[in-house]
């Protein structure tokens, strides 16, 4: 770079763009695709217009050198480094579960409890939450969004009616709260139809605001059972969505929904939603509906959310390793006894982890062989561990040229 040019750059003067041979320079950068990650290539393309060919070539060579220097070495104990890197700041994570201020937000487990939930790949998170973004044309209009929110909120019969059993006459009486029924924009006749369909029988008596059913059972237990079944009848909404709150999009493009309770499949099929941006915090549900790769993404994003929420900085590469390890076999596995550690190939490694006697016993009965390929087994038998320099299996022939 000429001194004059450098001066210009320092002053922030826009450097004259060297339009000559730009294509050639871009071509040069493109040659490095595959050698460098996409992000670096993109950055290089940004300076293509303002850098000389000679400088650019030097820069790219240097970038490759630096990139390779920073790649992880074969044999590096990446898992242990990841465990320590997440564990150390994790100890500083407070156990407090705090609630957001305001009415619309929901109380979500934060910090360590939530992190454990993610890593354990729990089937049901303690607070399942969905974030539903809507299509353009709907999300700008708050009225429409609220209307949609009301529509997907699940309403059960027990929410809007009093259900009582009358044991003397062997009847079940459903008394609707007409105000609440109005609130969900359902007429009495419509509600009656839905209830009758689900109860699989016609009401014996119909009043202004009540229905009387005769289940035809005589035992107290079966009448109670019938009543409980009626209470669960869904009058409206998507099953599993207990509450939906309307929130403003952070980029100001409108409103989105946050729901308590999740049903990814049920929501994805609705025509109003932007199906590419419906998120659930239930990783198992994502795995079932969208596949392992989506679940891996979810683990990564959820874990990062927890750490960011606590103001803890962890290099995302460590979290990626955890997410990759959890999804390696094609399904989400917990870290721990039920998952990764409990399914290790080596008997000795499993015995060293938990339930020593059971593992040894079972291995003895089935005639299992330990190939001593992992770290734990080799420590137990007192051999060098296959980590770092221990990975290398080379024998040098001495005395020969």
């Amino acid at each position: 770079m000429s001194p004059k040019r450098r001066e210009c750059l320092k002053k922030g003067v826009k450097v004259a763009i060297m339009s000559k041979n730009v294509e050639k320079r871009v071509e040069l950068i493109k040659e490095y695709e595959g050698k460098l990650p996409k992000k670096v290539i993109e950055d290089a393309l940004k300076i293509a217009e303002t850098t000389k060919m000679k400088d650019l070539k030097k820069t790219m060579e240097r970038a490759v050198e630096e990139y390779q220097k920073n790649l992880i070495q074969p044999g590096e104990a990446a898992g242990i480094v990841a465990a320590q890197s997440i564990g150390e700041p994790g100890t500083q994570m407070t156990l407090r579960t705090f609630h957001f201020a305001g009415v619309a937000e929901l109380a979500v487990p934060q910090g360590l409890p939530r992190f454990i939930e993610i890593v354990d790949a729990r089937r049901d998170p303690s607070m399942p939450i969905m974030e539903i973004h809507l299509k353009e044309g709907i999300r700008e209009d708050k009225g429409k969004v609220i209307e949609f929110a009301n529509r997907i909120e699940e309403v059960k019969l027990s929410d809007i009616a009093k259900i009582e059993e009358d044991f003397t006459n062997k009847q079940v009486i459903v008394v609707f709260d007409m105000k609440k029924l109005d609130g969900i924009e359902l007429s009495f006749d419509e509600a009656k139809k839905i209830v009758e369909k689900n109860a699989r029988r016609k009401a014996k008596e119909v009043g202004d605001n009540y229905l009387i059913f005769e289940p035809g059972f005589s035992t107290l237990k079966s009448i109670r059972g019938f009543k409980d079944k009626l209470a669960e009848v869904r009058l409206r909404g998507v099953p599993g969505i207990r509450k939906a709150a309307v929130l403003q999009e952070p980029d100001g493009t409108g409103y989105y929904l946050q729901t308590e309770g999740t049903n990814l499949k049920g929501v994805l099929v609705l025509p109003e939603v932007d199906a590419s941006r419906v998120f659930s915090n239930n990783i198992r549900e994502i795995e079932n509906v969208l596949g392992v790769e989506a679940a891996r993404n979810a683990i990564l994003i959820e874990a990062k959310k927890v750490l960011d929420g606590q103001g803890i900085k962890v290099n995302p590469r460590h979290l990626m390793l955890v997410a990759d390890a959890m999804t390696y076999d094609g399904e989400v596995k917990a870290i721990g006894r039920q998952g990764l550690s409990g399914q290790k190939a080596s008997v000795l490694a499993r015995a060293a982890f938990e339930e020593t006697v059971r593992h040894l016993h079972e291995a003895a009965m089935t005639g299992e062989v330990d190939y001593l390929k992992g770290v734990t087994e080799n420590i137990i038998v007192g051999q060098p561990i296959p980590v770092g320099t221990g990975t290398v299996k080379l024998i040098m022939k001495l005395g020969e040229d």
Binding site: K265, L268, A275, L290, G291, N297, G330
Partner: protein
């Protein structure tokens, strides 16, 4: 409930691009990483929604192009089991 429309699954932000690798590319891949058998690759179940959506069969190797927060884009491979 019926299966979701494949379009919906593939268009989701969480789902990266999955492609079925051609046989000769599989060989190249194994050669590049010095892998003896494709079964040593990370796995994906044949019952996986995305596998069904792109109609991959058992034994296929999928090339998965992920969006990565560190590298911009990262390529990963999985074999369908």
């Amino acid at each position: 409930m019926a299966d979701l429309d494949p379009e919906v699954i593939l268009s989701h932000e969480y789902v990266p691009k999955h492609e079925i690798l051609k046989d000769k590319d599989v060989e190249k891949l194994l050669e590049q990483y010095k892998i003896e058998s494709k079964m040593q690759l990370p796995k994906i179940l044949s019952s996986d929604p995305v596998v069904k959506a792109i109609k991959a069969k058992k034994g296929d190797v999928l090339k998965i192009t992920r969006k990565s927060m560190t590298a911009g884009e990262a390529v990963y491979y999985r074999v369908v089991i």
